[in-house]
């Protein structure tokens, strides 16, 4: 056979490819822009196998044809996708030369949150030496997990060490075509967490991203995959209460949870991304796709406390595929100043005797807007489905807004769906009552808000719950009006 057009095309492609990245392979950052070259650059940098590169390229091609969604109850300046650099080497996490350079306000907030000095320095990337200590802590932690056969590592590591697992489950819960930002993530995801719990194993400790060594410091496009094999249990914590700043404005993560037969995954998030200054300038956009799939008798529980980001757009969801499966969503979303949130959940009932619970507490302060958007979908064959939804809004000022968009789509007459909603304000009388007992106004608000959020906070693992309470207090400072 002679030299065909295809052969020529392939040659050209290869030479472009070679040309595209060799000049840049030494650098730590990809040039700005998004195209196939950049994807190849990222994949090569991470030494990924061919199948993953193909996954990325396929996603990119689909994404190029997609249009950014506009239905959310939020308004923001659309990111310029060609003006972003999609890869930065992990070691670039050090942001400050010395402790003195750290923003005093940031220091004050961390102190208020009760974060130890060492942890503060670690979070601001100052004490790079401290990483050595945390390596030893993390190592002993990891060896315990290894004894039980639990895999907990970075996504990149999992691709190398456990490709069969990644290949089998990646994209099985959030398909490449799912939505604009998930597709983007599928093309350019940087790193994230991978977790696998073997059959029948109950993970003995809360897994937290804190303990992952060599963690790429909060990438913009994180990709997380948690697989709980039959009969296993894991409680996973994501995020931290310390205010996280990043030059990268856009954060579009994808989290996929797979709970096989009789398994249970508890996924807790405390998010305090930089919300922008008092005039709402410069905050982070948090557009994340989180979804879990439950097989027979399995359970997935999402618990989140969101107080940060300028714009939050997320709907942690459960696909209740297996019979008797259970999905839960507990959320506290706080917006202050000019923040906007459009968050909620989707509970998709497919199997028989499935159950879902939604408890959503929104708190709006300042001039912010907080929207709850929920979908309870009962499919035709999902007999005996049960759902209970409660979405409450607490308004702190005269200028903020709370909006609710609940959707119920029920195609099976045996379903039982309950929905409750309340809207309230912190009464001046309640504050005065507290004042008259010697409690300061700030503490009073903190008490009342925590009481309001109690149902959700009780779902968080203990240490997280304590931090979350403090975080709620801080994010509402000076907000009563």
């Amino acid at each position: 056979m002679g030299y065909t057009e295809n052969d020529l095309a392939k040659d050209l492609e290869n030479s472009e490819y070679k040309f595209g990245f060799t000049t840049n392979i030494e650098s730590d950052r990809a040039p700005i822009g998004l195209n196939e070259d950049i994807i190849r650059f990222i994949s090569a940098k991470k030494e990924e196998p061919e199948w993953l590169l193909e996954y990325r390229l396929k996603a990119l091609r689909i994404w190029m044809e997609m249009k950014e969604p506009e239905w959310a109850h939020v308004s923001y300046t659309k990111p310029d996708f060609q003006a972003i650099s999609y890869y930065a080497a992990p070691k670039q996490s050090k942001k400050y030369e010395s402790w003195d350079d750290v923003d005093p306000e940031l220091k004050a907030t961390m102190a208020k949150l009760g974060i130890s000095m060492e942890e503060q320095q670690r979070l601001t990337g100052v004490a790079v030496d401290f990483v050595m200590d945390s390596v030893s802590v993390a190592t002993s932690f990891k060896s315990k997990l290894m004894e039980l056969g639990i895999i907990f590592c970075s996504f990149s590591e999992a691709v190398k060490e456990h490709p069969e697992l990644v290949k089998q489950y990646m994209g099985s819960v959030v398909p490449v075509t799912d939505n604009f930002y998930a597709t983007l993530n599928s093309a350019v995801f940087t790193d994230g967490s991978f977790c696998y719990i073997p059959k029948g194993v109950r993970c003995p400790m809360e897994l937290s991203t804190y303990f992952r060594i060599n963690e790429a410091n909060t990438g913009q496009f994180e990709r997380t995959l948690v697989i709980a094999d039959e009969g296993s249990y894991v409680s996973y914590l994501e995020g931290c209460t310390a205010p996280q700043r990043d030059e990268n404005q856009l954060h579009a993560a994808v989290v996929e949870l797979v709970a096989l037969k009789d398994a249970e995954i508890k996924y807790s998030t405390v998010q305090n991304w930089y919300p922008g200054d008092k005039d709402g300038v410069g905050g982070i956009f948090n557009f994340v796709t989180k979804r879990g799939i439950c097989e027979t008798n399995a359970k997935i529980s999402w618990t989140q406390v969101e107080t940060g980001s300028a714009v939050t757009w997320k709907y942690p969801s459960c696909i209740l595929k297996g019979d008797n499966s259970v999905g839960e969503f507990y959320s506290v979303a706080v917006t202050n100043n000019y923040q906007q949130a459009d968050t909620g959940t989707k509970m998709i009932h497919l199997g028989k005797n499935t159950k879902s619970t939604i408890i959503s507490k929104g708190i709006s302060a300042g001039k912010s807007h907080n929207s709850y958007r929920g979908l309870v979908q009962i499919h035709k064959n999902a007999s005996n489905a049960r759902n209970f939804s409660q979405c409450d809004s607490l308004l702190m000022t005269d200028e903020c807004g709370a909006h609710t968009f609940p959707y119920i789509e029920c195609k099976n007459s045996t379903a039982k769906i309950e929905h409750e909603a309340t809207t309230s304000k912190i009464g001046e009388d309640q504050i005065f009552y507290c004042l008259q007992r010697g409690i300061s106004a700030e503490k009073a608000i903190s008490l009342i808000v925590n009481g309001y959020c109690k149902e959700v906070l009780n779902q968080l693992p203990m240490e997280f719950a304590v931090e979350a309470q403090k975080l709620l207090a801080i994010s509402l400072e000076g907000s009563v009006g």
Partner: protein
């Protein structure tokens, strides 16, 4: 302990207290009675520090301190307690958590150590017995789902826990049946000491059968117009307020 001198207070431009004078010494119980609209609740609110009221003249000395200069929470921390006429509900905040926070804020203000969990629970058991408040209610949210009587008893329970120097009971007897009245009164009497004082604001003589006052004052048209011993309350019960209005009509 408390010296109110020529106090004038208005709300929304309308003057309610028109030169009120009152002196309360440690160890005393004072009753304040008067017709509706005279300014009884206003007095309680002003002393507690409600910001809606504007003080246009006069002074209030509380144990050597200028009370009007202090914030509401500082007045409480200095030892002023108001038992509300209509105690508000605070869902999600347990009575126990609420009181512990209050107690520790007061201790912090006085540069004392915060109370330990063990000591606190012992205190709760001791004080809830005084007002026969079921221990189970202590772990419920503040006043949530409480009956009228339970709310009032909860006020006295809080008073017992916080041990104020001066307690103002704003119509604590309203809405109480005979038994609840007896329990509340018993609680107040148990807490009485030579170092503290109580101002009882009430419409009815009935409470004063149980909480025997040292002085009875009549508040009419924003001023204290008459002061007498406990028999004055009986006289008011018998004759009503017409004779007061006639004597002091302005």
């Amino acid at each position: 302990m408390l010296k109110i001198n020529n106090l004038h207070a208005s709300i929304d431009g309308k003057e309610i207290l028109k030169g009120l004078n009152l002196e309360v010494k440690a160890g005393e119980i004072h009753a304040i009675m008067g017709p509706n609209g005279a300014g009884k609740s206003t007095l309680a609110s002003v002393l507690a520090g409600r910001e809606e009221y504007e003080i246009t003249a006069g002074s209030v000395d509380f144990d050597g301190q200028d009370l009007l200069d202090l914030s509401t929470e500082d007045r409480a921390r200095e030892g002023l307690f108001l038992a509300f006429q209509y105690p508000v509900e605070i869902p999600g905040v347990s009575n126990v958590n609420f009181l512990r926070t209050a107690l520790n804020e007061i201790r912090d203000y006085r540069k004392e150590e915060p109370i330990s969990a063990k000591d606190f629970m012992a205190l709760v058991r001791e004080k809830s017995a005084i007002v026969e408040l079921d221990a189970k209610l202590a772990s419920r949210s503040v006043n949530e789902g409480f009956s009228g009587g339970e709310k009032k008893r909860n006020e006295i329970f809080q008073m017992a826990m916080l041990e104020p120097k001066l307690a103002i009971l704003d119509e604590t007897d309203s809405g109480l049946d005979i038994d609840a009245l007896r329990i509340v009164a018993n609680g107040v009497n148990t807490l009485k000491s030579a170092d503290n004082a109580t101002i009882v604001i009430t419409h009815y003589q009935r409470l004063l059968d149980y909480i025997v006052p040292d002085f009875v004052h009549v508040l009419y048209d924003g001023r204290i117009v008459k002061t007498g011993p406990k028999e004055l309350a009986l006289e008011l019960e018998e004759k009503g307020y017409d004779w007061i209005k006639a004597e002091f009509q302005q």
